[in-house]
Symmetry: C2
DNA sequence: GTCCATCTTGTACGTTTGTACAAGACGGAG
DNA sequence: CTCCGTCTTGTACAAACGTACAAGATGGAC
């Protein structure tokens, strides 16, 4: 359920005192790569344990960097997580631009959209992260702009093809279909989705 | 973003040693009421901070009970949280039964459904909890049965009225509409929802 | 070369966590 | 009444946490 603590043993031990001292020979300098690696690691950890259980140490371990690297580049945990979320948001926006182009260029926009949704869902990990984030916005208003990026971007993508009202309905449908696939672990039923979209579009 | 630690001060202090000793005069015994109070408190805390940040101490404080009460009735944190989730699941199933009766009895089933959705969303806190839980199932397979209760229950409610295929589409639509309302904080657009449902139902 | 800002790393510190448990209060069985 | 299992509570403890920071390494400016 949560997966904390457990009655096993760990044993870190180790002491030392007074003040620390860098020892091991440092890896080559590359601040930008480290920032990126940390932001990417945040998303991995979020996908696994959720935002609420994401910690400096887990992110550092995932990035293969020492703990100190996290606080050097991101003063607080909030900053660290925010960096990950920013990265997710940028990836999402890029995707939406790509989707818009593909739908606009397609002979059958509905079929194209269904294919895009299917390919989006192929990377379940990423979808999980984005929906985790999406839902977190229900609790934390600071995350709303990101949630709105998704809803608005998708709506604007569809409006030229089906009009305002139908676009809203289709966006909701897609959200529901994606969440259900994530939550139940089931695959997407492409033909059924296409049918539903066409009905909402009024043909 | 996450809201942990902060640089404020607390100061628990206090010591004592060897082993504790019960002091204050205990409240009247009522094990069942305590279990219930704890399970209810879990849901409050989950609504506020998410499953990932739900702790024994926060639950105990919310329930107005001492820390020891949580571990006395629920050996581990997982058990404690599971008790809350079980309670949420039972409430959900009761609601679904109620919905089914109301939709079946209505002159206009679609209008009845829209009204039910609106009233469901009136308690945002509850909706937040259930969707938090719902999405957590994407990460933790143990929660899937609960998520499936929602999807299957809603689908079975609709099938008699609109058939299998349309029911699936409508359930997805409702999920999407609810999530978007939660996430953006916007109110539900009842008439638009009714229109979309009718289109998916094929009239 | 020397210098210094920047980066890398290990470790320290105080807090919060999950969980364990001893001490006392209660209330029905005998 | 006495006894005993159940409940209640305060507290203890090790692990994990967020954050701070001293010590070394690096590489460009001069």
């Amino acid at each position: 359920m949560t997966g904390r603590h457990r009655r096993d043993d760990g044993g870190t031990g180790r002491a030392g005192n007074g003040a620390g001292g860098g020892r091991r020979s440092p890896r080559p300098r590359d601040p930008q790569a480290r920032r990126d690696a940390l932001a990417a690691a945040v998303l991995d950890v979020v996908a696994e344990v959720g935002i609420g259980r994401t910690t400096h140490r887990a992110v550092a371990a995932r990035a293969g960097l020492p703990l100190g690297a996290t606080t050097y580049y991101f003063p607080t945990l909030d900053d660290l997580i925010a960096a990950g979320l920013r990265r997710a948001s940028e990836a999402l926006q890029a995707d939406l631009r790509d989707w818009a182009a593909q739908v606009a260029a397609a002979d059958d926009p509905v079929a194209a959209l269904v294919r895009l949704v299917e390919s989006y869902l192929a990377d379940r990990n990423r979808a999980r992260i984005e929906y985790e984030l999406y839902l977190a916005a229900a609790r934390d208003a600071r995350l709303r702009p990101l949630a709105e990026t998704w809803v608005r971007g998708l709506r604007e993508l569809l409006e030229p093809h089906v009009g305002d009202v139908a676009a809203r309905g289709i966006v909701a449908l897609l959200d529901g279909v994606l969440i259900q696939a994530l939550v139940t672990g089931a695959d997407l039923d492409g033909p059924a989705l296409a049918t539903a979209i066409r009905r909402l579009a009024g043909r």
